[in-house]
């Protein structure tokens, strides 16, 4: 996994990734936070194969995750906030309540 260099004193904030708690310095993107703990952000809607963040600047759409129940968010374009619930996007997005569903 990616490591964080000792940073300028920043408070740590907590988030969950697929149910697991993690802690990172404040001020980073959701994609960066994800990369401290994992490699996979989503599963392809075409093949179901795993994808991870690739460009970190909003041009590749591989870092799509579900944030606080909202699917298909570009993780690299969203700043992580305290208590955010991040889930890997499991493929095609669900409709009703915005919670993720298993892919058929």
């Amino acid at each position: 996994m990616f490591k964080t260099l000792t940073t300028v004193r920043r408070n740590l904030i907590r988030f969950t990734l697929d149910g697991q708690f993690h802690q990172v310095p404040a001020g980073i993107s959701v994609a960066a936070a994800l990369l401290t703990a994992a490699r996979v952000s989503r599963r392809s809607v075409v093949s179901g194969r795993a994808r991870g963040p690739y460009c970190m600047m909003g041009t590749c759409f591989d870092c799509l995750v579900c944030i606080d129940g909202e699917p298909n968010q570009q993780a690299c374009m969203v700043t992580l906030r305290e208590g955010m619930k991040i889930e890997t996007q499991p493929g095609i997005r669900d409709l009703d309540t915005g919670t993720t569903a298993d892919m058929d």
Binding site: V45, E70, N72, D94, L95
Partner: protein, 365 residues
Amino acid sequence: MDYDIAVIGGGLVGSSIAYGLSKKGRRVALLDEGDRAFRASRGNFGLIWVQGKGWDFPAYAKWTDEAAGLWPAFDSELQESTGVELGYTRPGGMEFCFDERGWNDLNDCMARVRTNSDGAFEYEMLEHAELRKRIPEVSSAVIGASYSPRDGHVNPLYLLRALHQRLDARRVDYLPNRHVDSIECLHGGFELRTNDERLAAGRVVLCAGIDNVRLGKLLGLNIPVRPNRGQLLITERVQHFLNYPTLHVRQTREGSLQIGDSQEDAGRDDGTTTEVMNRLASRAVSIFPMLKTVRVVRAWAALRVMTPDGKPVYQQSSDCQGAFGIACHSGVTLAAIHAGPVADWVAGGNPHPLIARFHPDRFDV
């Protein structure tokens, strides 16, 4: 003679006709423009739509129904021979209505189509509660819908791809990036000048969409078509929920939603507009409220090939033997019948009895 038949226009109409001709063993050239042409086929919604058509024109009601009936075999044939999955299904289709007046108009229209098709056209008018049983997600803004089991849908782009694959396999000469500058009627055939080349063909079929007006004049054909702009929105893929194509919202096999449409007189401007995008988006959400957070991945616009009454034109030139003109805005619905009876007619066979009803002299009333 380089070719038996030159088909001008490589969209759904031209490709279907060329395919039908190739199956009859004719030597065919299919001339097409380049990558950035108007290409009505690229803006097609993908509906194989029967309901409502021909409420004021009995021949069109019958023609459309027959065309839709040919589709299942057409789909199997293309799929088996190319391996391309067209995504054709015929679950029946709906048109939504939002008020009493809309309901009455639709009801009236459906009844007329039934009469004009000698009772063959099947439909039901579904009130809101009944509609909810089939499409539970629909909002209360939709008071009901007309439903016909005769309607279906397909991926129009894959249809075109499959046709092109078949044309390639059947040795039809696909000649893209050709702008036809002139066509001369010679004894026993035609000479086409395109870019710097000359090409001789025994017969010529114009399937060039709005360019048919210009080309038609060269061949004694009156094909009075005008561009009619339609815009649509395409969303990211979502979980399957919509099992029926509807006139304004359709879910593709991949899961993306197509949301349409508009009918605009914009000349040759095939650009999208903010007002229409805005309207299409808000209407989609009013019909299906849970779509509010679904993302639009692109908007699209294309120029429909619109005849004065919206019905097809099939014309054989009396001045120039062997010249044909074909125009319509339902290249998908009519694809199978174009590949079958219409191609037969172009090849010199006896015309299907309904073809004569679509002669453009009907506009001279």
